[in-house]
Subunit: 346 residues, 2 copies
């Protein structure tokens, strides 16, 4: 026979992830107890059941799921752990929900230094604590070396729909304005520069941040807020394209109003990339009634994450396309990226 | 510069997963619409929001998470899709919850034939429909060739705690009996045989099955049912070890009463494996008050998944260990596996 039925495990604490850490027996339990339970400490998780029974939730439950496969694991402005937590929080936030609970599944590659896992877990702990969200249950799998790349993390968020919120794409109407809560393109370019070791100048930093607070403030404006989305993969362009596809309306963006940092502007010009195509991890795109635009901008700018909030465009009756008006008044069609400029950015 | 900013995408429908399928733009949406939405069709999912707003849930919500990394993807008795759905349902079931909703995250390897994804998705659709559980939201990531192995699936289950259920490890008492709902070791050996191409005789088939119905019947027996767990990775031995660790009690299993199929018995003797260490994917281990044992066995045997249900042991006051009484009355300690006999079995 050509396969190994067992592989040796040192009696001392291993400093790397072993296949046995995923086998559901003693080493699994030790890993969970020493590396995860101590970090994420809470009573629901401590029960170590196959699932968590949550305290009673008043109102409608909102549920999300996301997986994080970013490389490198650590980058300017964040890391895979922070991304996994904020991703779930942001998906809940743009659905109009107050984030409450998370479940987390790790897929670990054999040979991963436990120190790396520890850093990721510490970052997740801080990110969750800062948002008052509780990690209540989890799962850990280990795959043989070469069958995954270091760490993948799937995260499910559970939240409570804020009373009275009716966000939906079909509420978007001609005449509505499109708002970005801040600069665009920061996350994707920070990852690209970190991964490829590009010298693109200073200041390329991921915008990875939790949107629950700033979105809660925005939602206080009531039913004039029609639709929210966090423009992650595919950037603002992908959100706008999905919007025109689903609604049959058009979008006209205004190039001179797009908030873009000097670092992102420089790097994207150098690389021939369009910041509208580049992922963000701490921005919200809002479509609101035009009468509400000034108040929305004011509310966003009061929050530290919204200092550069701006109206970036309008919803038009037709044609069903996304166009950009440049500073000379000319219109050009904004396409979606059709290739794969930046795999594994989130 | 040494990296590619874009990779070519044929205009025709690709028959393999491309990096661009994960980029959040047009190809992502097409993949989701054509391969996932049509299969999992329901109104909640069709909204394609960042999350799903669930209908009002009366009572306590139970939440689980699990990831499936099994290889091979298809094996006698099941496939990774069925496993991903049943895994979530079973975790909810043994927590005493009625399964209601699922969210699913795919991590796909570039180059995966779309036909393979389609088969997995079709299997997930059938498994979910058979259990009356609805897939309400999802996520799809693509990683470059060699950064994952074909398909990984993370699944979160949301359920409603059945009224009056108080399952917990701390409710286990000396004198309680340990019940298995059927034969043990089937799943792990089926995977091992399929993966390694072993000729282990006929009849090695995964027991992959949803436990929600059989567990619901068992829970009608009321508070005499103290604790439930599905003995997946690490097998029955790992569940028993966790029980003695957490409760400070002992477990005495009875070798002559362990339900083991002839195929599993033969294969495990040949390979020198202990069926108590081998994973199951459609069995529940129950700890119940002894006065309830006969009724519990009767209820389990009425269900097609419980035809071979048996009392397999007792909870003892001390010492804190798991022992097996063989057919001659001798006791031996049941250890946990400390190596990694079977990576990627679920």
């Amino acid at each position: 026979m050509t396969f190994n039925l067992t592989c040796p495990v040192s009696a001392s604490v291993a400093d790397r992830i072993l296949l046995a850490h995923g086998e559901g027996a003693r080493l699994s339990r030790r890993l969970i107890r020493e590396e995860l339970l101590t970090a994420f400490a809470n009573l629901l998780l401590a029960a170590l059941a196959d699932g968590a029974t949550l305290p009673y939730i008043e109102g409608n439950v909102v549920m999300t799921i996301d997986s994080s496969v970013v490389t490198p694991l650590f980058f300017p402005g964040g890391d895979i752990g922070k991304l996994a937590i904020h991703g779930a929080i942001n998906d809940l936030a743009v659905c109009g929900a107050e984030p409450l609970y998370l479940s987390v599944a790790f897929i670990l590659e054999e040979g991963l230094p436990i120190e790396v896992l520890r850093r990721v877990v510490a970052s997740m702990k801080d990110a969750a604590a800062n948002c008052g969200i509780v990690i209540v249950t989890g799962d850990t799998k280990v795959v043989p070396r070469g069958n995954a790349d270091q760490i993948f993390i799937a995260t499910t968020g559970i939240g409570r729909l804020r009373p009275g919120v009716t966000l939906a794409m079909h509420r978007v109407q001609p005449g509505d304005v499109v708002i970005s809560s801040g600069t665009i393109g920061d996350h994707g370019l920070a990852i690209l520069a970190a991964r490829e070791g590009l010298e693109l100048g200073e200041g390329l930093t991921s915008d990875c941040a939790p949107l629950n607070e700033i979105v809660a403030h925005l939602l206080e404006l009531g039913s004039d807020v029609h639709f929210l989305r966090d423009p992650t993969r595919g950037g603002v362009a992908a959100v706008m394209h999905e919007l025109v596809e689903q609604t049959g309306l058009g979008v006209q963006l205004d190039e001179s109003r797009l908030p873009i940092s000097p670092a992102v502007r420089g790097a994207s010009e150098l690389l021939g990339l369009d910041p509208l195509h580049i992922a963000n991890e701490g921005k919200v795109v809002a479509v609101v009634a035009s009468r509400c635009a000034d108040r929305a901008i004011a509310v966003l700018r009061q929050h530290s994450l919204g200092a550069q909030a701006a109206v970036i465009g309008d919803i038009t009756p037709a044609p069903v396309e996304v166009v950009l008006r440049n500073r000379f008044g000319h219109l050009r069609v904004v396409d979606e990226p059709t290739g794969a400029p930046l795999p594994r950015i989130c």
